[in-house]
């Protein structure tokens, strides 16, 4: 799903391929850290499952929104 979406976006925007890939790698690195740290927090607190996924997605959304603002600004 993730890969499909990625190639789809590249095909429609040929000149940005290199930059897109660089961004993607950066995104994946930061998000891996985010998931690992959320996991550690939830291990230590025993908070519920729904909160984990909520924070996970919320974090991703916020991350993308903020980095988008920086990059365009």
């Amino acid at each position: 799903m993730a890969t499909d979406t990625h190639t789809g976006s590249d095909r429609s925007d040929q000149p940005g391929i290199v930059r897109s890939i660089a961004r993607l790698v950066g995104d994946l690195l930061i998000l891996t850290c985010w998931v690992v740290f959320l996991t550690l927090i939830f291990l230590g607190t025993g908070w519920p499952q729904w909160a984990f996924y909520l924070l996970l997605i919320l974090g991703v959304g916020l991350y993308v929104t903020f980095t988008a603002a920086w990059r365009s600004g």
């Binding site: 925007d13 998931v35 959320l38 993308v64």
Partner: protein
């Protein structure tokens, strides 16, 4: 999934999204989808549902292996205990992640340990030590996770290891009675002094071994050549035997008895003790969950007690390799030169009054500010790696 179909679907969602929120363009929305999917994938890879979805029931854990016949090393029996499933799942996951951290040992990583929470909390945490040189790493982690389960400890003055003997006055055995030597008294190598452990059985159970710390042998213990001896107050020093196996990473040497003197299950403690078996990894986790103390008797500091601070600890503070399967407990004042090789133990709750179960060895202590504990390899680790047992 077919590319064109996905593209079409994504395009439709994207246009919808664009109409709803002009601030987020199509590219960023696609990024959210892709990275969100990736994040969920990582969460699945880590197996977060294993502990997030754990039910409220109870599961059995094996806490110790105990000899049903104190004289028969092969009569090992399992001790079990029922614990909350939620707690078990958290501890299991913490052990797994700690293992992952140790394998991926990132720059500045000096070690980590698993610290199970109480049974009521149903939680577990991992304490990670990083080099003070890795400041950016520390800042990143600290802001995000301060006061939660992921404790970052910056360790300073890592080079400042205290060398050379302190003033010490080791507890030397008066004389040998009954042909065997209890654990917890001073033993001697050619260049140093250490504490003798209680009898350690080899994997087949047909040999009783003396055991002490490997670093007591200067330049490393040489099997079949280096000797271990026992100083006595009322007689000349006697030979205990020759080094049989040396395990520098675990910091343990085993010595085969060479003469009439045998190792003993007894420890030289204030009240009589007899080693009856050993605690497992989960046995130690159980003790942490219940806030129980371990005890030890060393040749220099004598008998001390203290709380367990972590299990399955990885320590990369000394040498150029990491030591795994370590126990952290007590405080740094509980151990000094000459105490290495002593064992930590816990009263057997089921057996006779004098029965104790060994937790692990004590081989080093913290020497930097901010932390205070003793560490050494867990008995469970020695069993997993080589099959030795108490």
């Amino acid at each position: 999934m077919e590319g064109t179909h996905t593209e079409h679907l994504v395009h439709r969602i994207a246009t919808l999204r664009d109409r709803l929120d002009a601030g987020m363009d199509r590219r960023e929305f696609l990024r959210t989808l892709a990275t969100g999917g990736y994040a969920l994938g990582v969460a699945q890879f880590l197996g977060v549902d294993d502990f997030l979805a754990a039910d409220d029931g109870e599961v059995p854990i094996v806490t110790a292996f105990v000899r049903s016949d104190p004289e028969d090393p092969l009569s090992l029996e399992e001790r079990t205990r029922y614990v909350p499933a939620e707690w078990y799942a958290a501890v299991e996951k913490a052990l797994e992640i700690n293992e992952l951290l140790a394998q991926r040992a990132f720059t500045g990583y000096l070690g980590s340990a698993v610290v199970p929470g109480s049974y009521e909390s149903g939680s577990a945490s991992i304490s990670v030590g990083i080099d003070s040189g890795a400041d950016s790493l520390r800042e990143t982690f600290d802001g995000l996770l301060d006061g939660v389960s992921f404790n970052i400890e910056t360790i300073v003055d890592i080079e400042d290891l205290e060398e050379g003997p302190d003033d010490f006055d080791p507890r030397i055995l008066g004389s040998i009675s009954g042909g065997s030597v209890p654990g917890g008294v001073a033993c001697e190598t050619s260049g140093s002094i250490a504490t003798l452990g209680p009898v350690l059985y080899d994997p087949d159970g047909d040999q009783q071994l003396f055991v002490t710390a490997e670093h007591a042998f200067e330049g490393g213990a040489e099997p079949d050549s280096d000797q271990l001896s026992l100083p006595l107050q009322e007689a000349d020093t006697v030979e205990l035997g020759t080094v049989e196996h040396s395990h520098p990473v675990e910091d343990i040497v085993t010595v085969a008895p060479g003469g009439q003197i045998e190792p003993s299950t007894a420890l030289d403690t204030p009240s009589p003790t007899r080693v009856r078996g050993q605690l497992t990894r989960y046995g130690l986790a159980d003790l942490i969950a219940r806030g129980e103390n371990l005890e030890k008797v060393g040749a220099v500091t004598g008998h001390t007690t203290g709380k367990i601070q972590g299990i399955d600890a990885v320590t990369c503070f000394t040498d150029d390799f990491c030591r795994r399967g370590q126990i952290r407990w007590g405080g740094e004042m509980d151990l000094t030169d000459g105490d290495s090789g002593s064992v930590s133990y816990y009263d057997d709750p089921v057996g006779a009054d004098e029965d104790v179960l060994v937790a692990g060895f004590n081989n080093a202590r913290t020497w930097w500010p901010g932390q205070s504990y003793v560490w050494g390899v867990g008995a469970y680790r020695m069993t997993e790696m080589y099959g030795y047992h108490f």
